[in-house]
Amino acid sequence: MNLNDVRDLLWLATACYGASFVLGMVKTRHSFSPFFRESPFVLILAGFFLQTRALYFRGLEVHGCPLGNGMERAQFIIWSLIVAFLLLRLVWRINLLGTFCAGASLLLGALSLGLRKWDAPYWTATGYVRLFKDPWIELHASIAIFSYGLFCLLAVVSLMYLSQRQALLSRKPGFLGPYLPPIQELEVAAIRLLAVGVAFLTLSMVVGTMHWTRHPEFVSGSKLTVTTALWVGYLFLLGMRLSNRLYGSRFAKWSIGLFALALLSLSIVSSKSKKQAFYNPSLAPLALVVR
């Protein structure tokens, strides 16, 4: 295990999230001694620290925000998810949210690291042109990915909502039901996360639009279409919820479904601008993606 190697660090971070998830689940049924009571949270913090270090090293390698391949984007989303969770935790404690976030991080982290082709070393190719020459577009991409982290947290909260609802409808105590937060609290949290996520995505769109109007050659049509569609989708979801036309389990399912689409869109939308393709055509199959 090399603590200066990006992938080793990320595997270690994923292991921390996994251990946090397992301990969090065990904690619901078994009592821990006071010394170990906060261990799931401490493991999340440890995972977050290791992940931050890994992304920092990767950023040094690629000379910018590491969002150049599938693994980097997945890791950045996990990192944003944990940031959103830590910020939310400061103002609002939601039972088991950390455990569910750790579970989602474990799943997405292991998937992104397990599939080696997701981590293609695009920066080692000859004639590599750094992804974000313009700091504004780098800001646009990082805000967009942070909003994905918020939408990921929204999907996690929605999953918790559906779990609690299912436990209540089954009319049995169940394994998790008594320990999950109340469904009304989860729905309020989901609305707030959606509103904040939409605000960040809108900000990202504004910054991106400013760049696009000046340099339209840097933005592909498919990227423009999919990101706009996604933004409209989340805006529509927020509008429907605030007008009470979509609520409860259907709102939760929509939140999860839309995030799944957002994840899928990452592999569809190529950030590789027309200019970059011109500079380095050999990188085309790697489908560099900003969001």
Binding site: R29, H30, S31, S33, Q164, A167, L168, L169, R171, K172, P173, G177, P178, L180, P181, P182, I183, Q184, E185, E187, N244, Y247, G248, S249, R250
Partner: protein, 356 residues
Amino acid sequence: MSKQPDSSLFLLGTSHQVANLNERESIALPNSSIDSFYNGLNALPGLQECLVLNTCNRTEIYGSADATFQFESLLQYFANFRELGLEFLAEKTYQRTGAEVVRHVFEVASGIDSQMVGETEILGQLKKAYDEACERGATGKALNRLFQKSFQAAKWARTNTGISKGQVNLGNVLCELARRIFGQVDQCRLLVVGAGEVAESALEAFKSRGSEAITVTGRTFDWCPLSRRKPDELAQKFDGFTLAYSKFHESLHLFDVVLASTASSQALLTQYQVVQAMKKRPSKPLFLIDASVPRNVEEGAAGVDNVYLYNMDDVSAIANENLQSRLAEVEKCRHALSKRALRLWEQIRAQPSLPS
């Protein structure tokens, strides 16, 4: 019984473990006689400290004594005070000394010796008994230490074992379900239809959690003003409001929790009525509890979005399952408390000022 070498601490008591309800009633001390009972206890030769715990389920006398104390004198005094036969009292009580007393009081305080395992009411009763004994100047170094440590042990047991996890009382189970739906129970608007015992238990549980918006309605408003249990009496008892039964269906959307507990032979709440109510509160959940046999709420109402319908079988099953999981924790808790008790007893014995 003569004093054992480690009998500086002693206990004489009865509980559901050794006596049935009638026997416990005959042994229990009337509240009005506690003062005179303490006076008699203090007069027993050799007795230095004492504490009386007198609840509906147990009567126990804890004490600390010197070498001249004779346990038979306590038994005789108790039998005389309650006008009971000595043999009956000896058979229906348990006697403990030394480390066994420490272990027993730890188990009582933590609720694992209670009829309803893990209940927390006993800790409050024990604290009250201790406060009363302190006010009377009946406790000293040994009992002070014993009871203060027992309160700590109870807290430890509740935090570190699962003996108090999950509700086992029907009213509390309903409150817990309401908490899982709405969060804060005190903010829930509760409507009770009927005035059965389950309704009363639920009202008590909601009231004890700070619920203020309690409304009661029932068919007896309109049908039988001479009914034995009238909804308005129930509302008055819990500082609630009354609602005319004829207005109940049209006001359904105003309530978060609706408990039906009547003897009606037909459904009082149909699926259609629930659907209509939910149209007026689409995004807010509705918790329906059908505590009646035959059922008062149509089963189809459970299929309405954002509606959670429970009947008494469901609630009882949850209570039983919670109880089973508590029972599974008892041995683990008892073992841990036993070790703590032994440690405390060794500390007590090591103190030169205390008789060993």
